[in-house]
Symmetry: C2
Subunit: 317 residues, 2 copies
Amino acid sequence: MVDEFDLIEKLLSRSRRLKHQGALIIPPGDDAALLSSIARPVITTDTHREGVHFRTEWQRHQEIGKKAVVITLSDLAASFATPVALFVNLSLPGHVTLENADALYDGIFEALDQYGCALGGGNISRAGELSLDMFAIGDCYSGYYPARSGARSGDGLYVSGPIGKAKAGLLALIHNDPDFPELVRAFKFPEARFDAAKILYAHGVRCVMDLSDGLIGDASHMARASSVTITLDPAALRLPPELTLFSRKYNLSPEKVAFEGGEEYELLFTCTPDVFARIENQLPSAFQVGIAAPFSETYLIQPFPEISSFQHGKKSY
Amino acid sequence: MVDEFDLIEKLLSRSRRLKHQGALIIPPGDDAALLSSIARPVITTDTHREGVHFRTEWQRHQEIGKKAVVITLSDLAASFATPVALFVNLSLPGHVTLENADALYDGIFEALDQYGCALGGGNISRAGELSLDMFAIGDCYSGYYPARSGARSGDGLYVSGPIGKAKAGLLALIHNDPDFPELVRAFKFPEARFDAAKILYAHGVRCVMDLSDGLIGDASHMARASSVTITLDPAALRLPPELTLFSRKYNLSPEKVAFEGGEEYELLFTCTPDVFARIENQLPSAFQVGIAAPFSETYLIQPFPEISSFQHGKKSY
């Protein structure tokens, strides 16, 4: 059984070596953390639970820790915010070895370093289930917040990069199929698209969210929040070749896998077609997936009515 | 089984009626919450798990929700900060009824209203165990942070109010003893001492923490962080009459119960005796429990060497 005091000692010592730990005036170890002034604080929270959001049979502990941080920070990217500090509550069952607990934090520190974020604090508690509750605070660099309610009639709907690969990767893991390592990689190692967000901000995009519930699920949230009707267009999709191969093997529609999707963490956004033409020059991975029109009867028009939203086992608010 | 979407709809609608919800520019419901500028952001996080931190046999769901918020905000009080927003991740087993989930949030909203804090967001996820992960952000109203490392040789060690009652209340619950309702109340309904913190701040107190691990546990943390030796003095204790009665019934030393304590959430602080004389005029519930001297061999001198620290099932950093 892991000694929590030893584990925390290690964490504190490692946190002091993080590049961006200087954002904390009072670092972890006191009753609370004190940060430098934040003009526009953006806060997001996420839960990652074994058996619901990850499986130790499929993912190494380091991969689990890293992905949990990336997913949490992704909401900051979608909010035009720079990461400042992350707080981690670990629920630790007795059967988790010290090696595995260390590896979880290896992944956490790797992501913190990559995205320039400090470790603000947290706790470790005994539990029956392994889970990570994360809270991230960032600083919004934009004078406006790119809300999901910002879609306007006449806007195009766009994604910042490929969709459907993470979903296909998850299916490959479920089928225990070793033939699609790139799809599995997309599932295991998403990126938080701070780079794409900066480009969208530079072009004044006002409606952004990150794709966690899949295109159909998230486009539906966006249409509802914006009171518009969004029509998804499968003809516009750019299908990754691995996704096409995978779909052929399992007799699936690749468009359907891409539309259902989930856990891509690409950015979903709307803007006018002329603004998108300029964005595309700087972000060639982006492409159109639909259009927004005045609300008429239904929020979302899409060719796969049997699909609603990716079931995450978690509802955020 | 509770429908999370319905529950979240209700939460969002209730959150809009909170007195201090205006602290949020973008309220819960988008990817993240956007708050107004915070000059000195203070952040703390806490985990509250069934069977470890609370028991539904002893506490109603409303009481559990309320106490969880109070405990979380208490760290802000001890940091000279005013609450701004609270984020709540609820892990919800299938057997929890809608009535009980509603009651949990009743308690959460009650505490948020009492302490003038907004609901910033959160999530609800399916789990085998009922637990609440909370994350609070506040604004430090002091130009310095009252760290646990601030104790100086020559300082007295003081508490803002009675100690030992919550521990005795917990023991009364364990013994299923109905004779000590006031002790049980102390266990179930702690207060976050923002009122006492304001007085300590006004008198320039520089070393403060909240009593969650019991006097022996927390005085030991403080002595270690401050590199001093703290001596606890049982003769100085003010023993609540109910604690004396309880201890007599169970053949316990009331001083020992008070020293071991835990979950009082009173403030533990140090200052010079002349400063304390002035504080006492405004905070008559406060009294001395020990003194700080130059470090010599051991961090804590106390008469009950068999006691170390209240075992919370949770280690914070």
